[in-house]
Symmetry: C2
Subunit: 329 residues, 2 copies
């Protein structure tokens, strides 16, 4: 039985608490959120799960005073700047960490100084720290990396994650900019709220595994334009407006595009799928029909990684340097 | 630059030597085969590769006296009984090992005593030992295990490897029993020459990762019967004769079939592919169109694993407990 403290009780943290409560090998022993609206509330009630006797603590120290955990799950922020001091505090209490922080998935190239701080703090406390999730963390990095195992040589890696958002939650449709005029889309693009965080991290992880030294990376975000009027239960998208978002990340080695990550989510997208294409020997085209549901998958991989993080070498780890994460009963 | 000694200079060992010679990060420094027909021959000539100054040694000791390797690749036999003393000899010289021995891919359940011997010998010498390959070693075990990473729960794992042997080498067509009468097929089945080694090992590896305790395994081999006459450049297969082989492995937990591995190779098979189906949440169906060429893939994964085996924890390791193997330049 692995004892877990969940830090960050937003939608992701709540779903993770639910998943933990359904898994025989895991036990949630504490929950932390500094939001005064949440602190003190009953965990079972907040997450609608049959867990009794745990209330949300406003600090990790308070939560740990009640029952010591073996590992901390951290689902608070997406950026290295803000996650680093949080990690330093947690590892100082002797806890290994699995986090959904997107930039933590492979921060060695994009945030080398902060990576070093985390690496040193975790080594000092003899624990491992991992950033994971469905993307970044799996579909656009770990999975293509694993698939190259059978290749004698690799020239190019391309991953496409295409999603029809028609039947997704309305907040998801809004998040991808469906229904916006192109002017509104451009405004939101500038604000950064449409951006999927993690393409550059995934590119870096792939390049590092392949032994490729990146000379340049790109991350280009554009609207998917509705070719005709689209009517859904939630909105009407006019012809010529945005039906969603397309974001393409590219990694170059000596001017040659070696890595291409294409993410597209739009209302009316003809097909949903996750596709890895490896140009090499042998050529590999591996497709997951229907694609992988991101919400379930991110929570699942986070709790599945708990087993590996407990035996991983101390320090800042990535999905490419711990043993394969899998479901376990 | 990683220095490699190749032990076993059959077709697989020769191809591996070729692959090593094409990879900038690797260098072959020795080759061993106890066959007196091969010992003393020039490696470059035998493998048609531009490697100079290495002759096949009849023993590892002889090969290592010339130049010390960092790691040994071992492609001699498929069974634990014969590979164990070979491994003990190699690790005693301080060399980690990557082997294509099928039964070594996950021997903990099928050969616990020999596994323990290998584990102890390698730990004593502070090196790691790994059995890998395309199958067992990747397509029917490591890959489905990795794909479950995004699952909150898994009910059943099914892997199908279907190959149209029409355009494969004639020895491969013969190996799968194409063109045999059903009586001849049954004779060969009894002799064991049609059997693919490794289904039980793959089932054990998956079960161990999922935390499932197997109550029973099955491994059933039957002919694929030609529904009409098939004429190829190499043979004519009569209607009702064998066009190839089908082998199905099953793993049961408390009487429930939880793991199904279906391997089929026949002349005229309608489609070649590798398919992983995970029944769980989310459901996953991941298909590699055209399938993965086994010869290239086994040699590739063996040399790709060299990088991981050098940093792996000492002892008998499996693909499910070392960091992900990938191509590297």
């Amino acid at each position: 039985m692995i004892k877990i403290v969940q830090i960050g009780m937003g939608p992701l943290g709540q779903k993770i608490a639910k998943f933990i409560s359904e898994r025989p090998a895991l036990k949630i022993v504490g929950a932390v959120d500094k939001d005064p609206e949440k602190a003190g509330k009953d965990l079972g009630t907040l997450c609608s799960i049959p867990v009794k006797g745990i209330s949300i603590s406003s600090s990790l120290k308070e939560a740990m005073a009640k029952e010591k955990a073996d590992v901390a799950l951290l689902t608070t922020v997406s950026d290295m700047q803000r996650i680093t001091p949080q990690i330093e505090e947690i590892v100082a209490m002797g806890l290994p960490i699995v986090s959904t922080c997107e930039e933590l998935s492979f921060p060695w190239d994009t945030a080398p100084e902060l990576s070093k701080r985390i690496d040193e703090a975790s080594k000092k406390n003899n624990v491992a720290v991992l950033g994971t999730g469905v993307n970044p963390g799996f579909l656009m990095d770990t999975l293509p990396i694993c698939l190259t195992a059978v290749c004698q040589h690799v020239e190019k890696v391309k991953v496409s994650r295409f999603q029809n958002a028609e039947f997704r939650r309305i907040p998801f449709q809004k998040k991808i900019g469906a229904g916006l005029t192109l002017r509104e889309f451009e405004e939101k693009r500038k604000q950064g709220t449409l951006r999927h965080v993690g393409l550059t991290e995934s590119i870096s992880m792939i390049a590092r595994s392949m032994g490729w030294k990146l000379s340049k990376t790109e991350d280009i975000l554009t609207p998917v334009i509705a070719e005709k009027e689209i009517v859904t239960s939630a909105m009407t998208i006019k012809k010529g407006d945005s039906a969603g978002v397309q974001q393409i990340g590219k990694g170059y080695v000596d001017g040659v595009e070696k890595i291409t990550l294409a993410f597209r989510a739009s209302v009316g997208e003809p097909e949903s799928y996750d596709l890895v294409e490896i140009d090499g020997n042998p050529k590999i085209s591996s497709k997951i029909d229907g694609g992988v549901n991101g919400d379930v998958a991110t929570c699942a991989i986070t709790i599945n990684a708990v087993k590996q993080i407990l035996t991983a070498k101390p320090g800042l780890r990535t999905m490419s340097d711990i043993s394969p994460v899998s479901f376990f009963q």
